[in-house]
């Protein structure tokens, strides 16, 4: 018997690009992460044909979850047509046979950088967030070993302290993105660099959220119907960005998270950040029926 008879036939790549053991490890780590919501699980981040820091963590999770029946949507800062988003989406469909979409309601896997879609996600959808820095304590405790002990002790005094000092110095909480949030009353996570606007969408959501950092080699999860509470003082309410009154220049929708486009005259105009929502709104205006699904924010107020 020769060695060749024992091995599998040569193939260019394995299904979904990652080798079987890499996917097995990721699956195990995802299950662990779901079992302990918000707790960071280390994993061996594999090489993918993309530079670390460009969404490799999210990509590995997506490649592990994907199957030929999946429908994949990839967004970058809310847009489906960015170079990075388009390339990742094309890569995923090429190595897995999954179909591509821009529509949040059609997708089964939504990989995202910096935004949670405005339309409410369902039970059978997974949101994969690309995370640059998974450690909420990094700003207050540079030593990772000590930070892990602090997580184990639920010692989040220093995080609260930074919020306290922001109020003391500036009169309000200055934390814009990656707002530290308590998951299931136990672990504080940084919800990737999503804006404050998007954090309430993760609270008691119907979909599974997996946050993965490829460079830092950690992933954590928010299972469906899990509490996600931003850290706030009882007498200082949590404030989202002041976008409720803004109207999108192109689609005319208002009450959603907007991108600000500075103009020559010193003023600025706004475009809705979730670009597919804008496209749907334009289609609606042109007569397409029922294009926009239910949204988390209605008239600028969080209502889900």
């Amino acid at each position: 018997m020769s060695l060749a008879t024992l091995t599998k036939d040569w193939a260019a790549t394995s299904y979904g690009f990652l080798d079987a053991s890499a996917k097995r490890e990721l699956r195990r780590k995802m299950l662990k992460a779901i079992a302990v919501p918000g707790c960071q699980m280390p994993y061996a981040s594999r090489e993918v044909p993309m530079a670390r820091g460009w969404g490799t963590g999210g990509l590995q999770v997506t490649l592990t979850l994907v199957n030929p029946n999946s429908v994949v949507k990839v967004i970058d800062q809310g847009a489906d047509d960015g170079v990075n988003a388009a390339s990742i989406r094309r890569f995923i469909s090429r190595v897995s046979g999954a179909s591509e979409t821009w529509d949040t309601l059609e997708a089964t896997i939504v990989q995202s950088r910096h935004r949670v879609p405005e339309e409410i996600m369902r039970e059978n959808q997974v949101l994969v967030l690309q995370v640059p820095n998974p450690e909420p304590l990094r700003g207050v405790e540079p030593n990772i070993s000590i930070a892990r002990q602090m997580h184990a002790d639920a010692d989040y005094g220093k995080l609260w302290l930074t919020l306290y000092e922001q109020i003391v110095r500036k009169g309000r909480i200055m934390q814009g993105a990656a707002y530290p949030s308590m998951v299931n009353g136990r672990h504080v996570m940084t919800p990737s660099p999503i804006p404050r606007w998007d954090v309430p969408k993760l609270n008691m959501s119907k979909h599974l959220t997996i946050l993965s950092a490829g460079r830092e080699k950690r992933l954590y999860a928010v299972p469906p119907y899990t509490r996600v509470e931003p850290l706030v003082f009882s007498d200082r309410p949590y404030l989202v960005e002041d976008h409720a009154a803004l109207t999108c220049r192109r689609s005319g929708v208002s009450g959603f998270f907007m991108n600000e486009l500075p103009q020559d005259g010193g003023g600025s105009v706004f475009e809705v950040s979730d670009s597919n929502l804008g496209i749907k709104a334009i289609d609606c205006a042109d007569g397409a029926p029922d294009a926009i699904g239910d949204t988390w924010y209605r008239n600028g107020e969080f209502s889900a």
Binding site: A152, D153, A154, D155, G157, K158, W160, L161, T162, Y164, E165, I167, V168, R169, F233, S234, D235, R236
Partner: protein, 273 residues
């Protein structure tokens, strides 16, 4: 006029401290670091409202003992109980990490000789005090702010500098911030590890003054470790003299200093004079 017959004077004359149930009781504490026996069967008792002074040379085990009182370290053998509501007969060394941290945050305050150990140098002074309250679960910004101000005020810290970072402050001020942090939650026990060593004499006197006033006003039980007999003499009600990890003599401060029994204590008192 006969002062002795007045009840208040009588109260002062009797050893009032020793009549109460002790607040802190450590029994038979032993600790080895490799070949070094840092503590050998030390017993310590502290009564509510008193100031207990621990003197001894470097390496005598006084700081190790204090660290154990703060639950930073566990001994090889020995028991430690604090008479706190609900925890009367519990050996505190048996607590889990988490319970220990919560107990320390709520009931024990400590002032270190080196302010870098006790303070977050990059955060504001008021924030340092507020952190204690945050760990204990206070979540209202206004209450945090006012309690931090109160504690800093009680330790005679100039309030116009309450949001300055400790690293910008003088040594005496840093010790006051540490003190404010320690007393913010009205601890049952205040541990002072050489609190005035390294300060110049006049600042030392001011900090000691603050400590005395706090002790008088709030009746905080204190354990004061120092190698400086002068500091111990001004502050302490009772004294424990340590050498080579053992307690060689203990008793009322006046007694020990005026009539030292153990040769080492005699030497110590004479060296001071």
């Amino acid at each position: 006029m006969n002062l002795i017959s007045e009840p208040a004077a009588l109260e002062r004359a009797a050893p009032r401290l020793m009549r109460a149930e002790p607040l802190l009781r450590m029994t038979d504490i032993s600790k080895r670091y490799g070949d070094v026996r840092a503590l050998r069967g030390v017993d310590a008792v502290v009564y509510p409202g008193e100031v207990m002074g621990i003197v001894g040379e470097s390496g005598s085990g006084k700081s190790t003992l204090l660290r154990m009182m703060n639950l930073e370290d566990t001994p090889d053998s020995g028991d430690y109980t604090l008479r706190l509501p609900g925890r009367e007969n519990e050996n505190l060394f048996d607590l889990t990490r988490y319970e220990r941290r919560m107990l320390c945050a709520r009931h024990i305050g400590i002032v270190y000789q080196n302010p870098h150990l006790g303070l977050l140098m990059k955060h504001s002074s008021s924030g340092n005090v507020a952190e204690r309250l945050l760990i204990a679960g206070e979540r209202s910004f206004e209450i945090l702010r006012s309690k931090a101000r109160e504690a800093l005020d009680a330790s005679e810290f100039p309030l116009d500098r309450m949001d300055a970072r400790p690293i910008e402050l003088s040594g005496g001020m840093q010790q006051r911030v540490q003190l404010a942090k320690a007393i913010a939650l009205e601890p049952a026990l205040l541990l002072l590890d050489e609190p005035t060593t390294g300060l110049d004499v006049s600042v030392q006197a001011l900090v000691l003054d603050t400590l005395k006033r706090l002790q008088r006003d709030r009746r905080i039980t204190m354990v004061l470790v120092s190698h400086d007999l002068g500091v111990i003499r001004t502050m302490a009600d009772r004294v424990m003299v340590m050498r080579h990890g053992e307690v060689v003599e203990q008793g009322l401060a006046d007694q020990v200093f005026q009539d030292p029994q153990h040769p080492y204590t005699q030497q110590l008192v004479h060296a001071k004079l």
